[in-house]
């Protein structure tokens, strides 16, 4: 469980996070939604120490993460995976080498075992034939999937996904989320997923949090969110669920 208390962060005098309070339950899937530029990525980066807050606390395993030094963070980060919004693939390495990287660094496996694991991960995201390509030779969606494979290579307790499905076609979106859920269920992961896709969120989330104007405007189960009266949340949902998309949501 991760508990965020009154988190505040400004950049150059502009306050992006204005007191975020959020509880991320263990073994559950939390979606974070909100308009572009409201600070979703900024919020996620605080959970792994890539940004440090001006104020507030982040509790994980009985420790306030905001008080850790870089060495202690290194230990915590072994338990938390992160999918960067832009992928952040190493562009001096092939796709295969990128996926193998965390395994070589941490998994202490024999070489052929790593090889097998890389192939397995790449076929799960449908990229086996791109194994020897460099990131610059891939499309945006392929890069995202390669980054996802790299994130899933180790099985941390928590994985933070910054827009895992944005820029993918609908078929891929579903299969990527199914893949995430499969991994989540197999290893009992805690997942935090930033997404703009309302039907997907309503279908896959255990809880959905809306970030608006620097605070969590509303948080609740997909059912509660679907019936929300909060003006911003309502507007967000209504803009997304113009017509047929609602059908997906009923499955959830």
């Amino acid at each position: 469980m991760i508990t965020i208390k009154n988190l505040k962060k400004s950049f150059n005098g502009f306050q992006v996070l204005r007191g975020v309070n959020l509880v991320i339950p263990e073994g559950k899937t939390t979606f974070i939604m909100g308009q572009s530029g409201t600070g979703k990525s900024v919020l996620l980066k605080h959970l792994v120490g890539l940004l440090s807050p001006d104020e507030g606390e982040i509790w994980f395993e009985n420790r306030d993460l905001t008080k850790l030094n870089e060495k202690e963070w290194q230990e915590v980060r072994k338990k938390i995976g992160y999918l960067f919004q832009e992928g952040a693939l190493f562009d001096s390495m092939t796709v295969g080498e990128n996926v193998a990287f965390p395994l070589i660094e941490h998994a202490k496996l024999p070489e052929n075992e790593i090889e097998r694991k890389v192939d397995e991960l790449l076929s799960a995201v449908g990229l086996l034939e791109a194994k020897d390509k460099y990131p610059s030779e891939l499309s945006g969606g392929m890069r995202k999937r390669a980054a996802l494979a790299r994130t899933l290579a180790l099985h941390p307790q928590v994985i933070l996904f910054d827009e895992p499905t944005t820029g993918l076609d609908p078929i891929l979106q579903r299969s990527i989320l199914d893949l995430i859920m499969e991994v989540k269920n197999r290893f009992n992961l805690t997942c935090v997923i930033i997404s703009h896709d309302v039907p997907l969120a309503l279908h896959y989330a255990d809880q959905i949090a809306f970030l608006h104007e620097g605070v969590i405007a509303q948080i609740g189960s997909p059912e509660e969110i679907r019936n929300s009266n909060h003006p911003f949340v309502r507007k967000f949902l209504d803009s997304a669920l113009i017509d047929g998309a609602k059908e997906v949501s009923h499955e959830g």
């Binding site: 890539l50 290194q74 980060r77 952040a88 190493f90 562009d91 941490h106 180790l154």
Partner: protein
Amino acid sequence: MNLFYHLGSLFLKFLRDCGGVFIFFWQSLLATFSRPFRARLFIKHMEFIGVKSWLVVSLTALFSGMVTAYQVHHALVKFGGQSVLGGVVALTLTRELGPVLTAIMVVARAGSAITAELGSMRITEQIDALKMMAVNPIQYLITPRLWAGVITVPLLTAMANLIGIAGGYVVGVMVLGIDHGIFMARMEDMVELQDIMSGIYKSIFFGAFLVSVCGYKGYYASGGAEGVGKATTEAVVISSVGILIFDYILTTLFF
């Protein structure tokens, strides 16, 4: 008022950079002792910084040696001292030109590339990705480059000394007509091991210095592609000027 403000802030930035570079150097030095030892990266960077610089360093050394011979000869002739040409050329090269020109050429060729590569890794979050995989980015990215610089720059300097002296010999003996035996004998008389070593010691320092400055500027780059370009320019300017300034300081203090 405005001028003072401007100068003051420049000076503050300078101090901050100095401190930053030193801390950065210290962190990457300390990271040498943390596991795992990155032998493959170390070799790769030795190839990039060292092996791939041999041509530009050789050309620079050759022509500097040749022109030094001409200029020194011109001065020596005025009092009939041209017989010591070999010694003067060799001293100039081993003590000054060899280490300084080599380091500056390595900055131009490899240092700029280090800043640009690290800078683009920074702005595309690859450095953050390393952190997220619980890899110490300084240990992974900087330490191997630091040692590669510390080892290859003196080796390149030794090579530059040799080629520069050969260039001086060609001009001195074959063009200006100094006797082969006299050229060599004066060189042997005047150049001591200590002269050669003083240049090599300097070049070890320059190797560490240029990797620290160029690494620092790239590692902390910000502001998109434009920021990386700016960082690269700054890295090249600061390391080149810094090499000349430290050359003076080291020479007056120790050598």
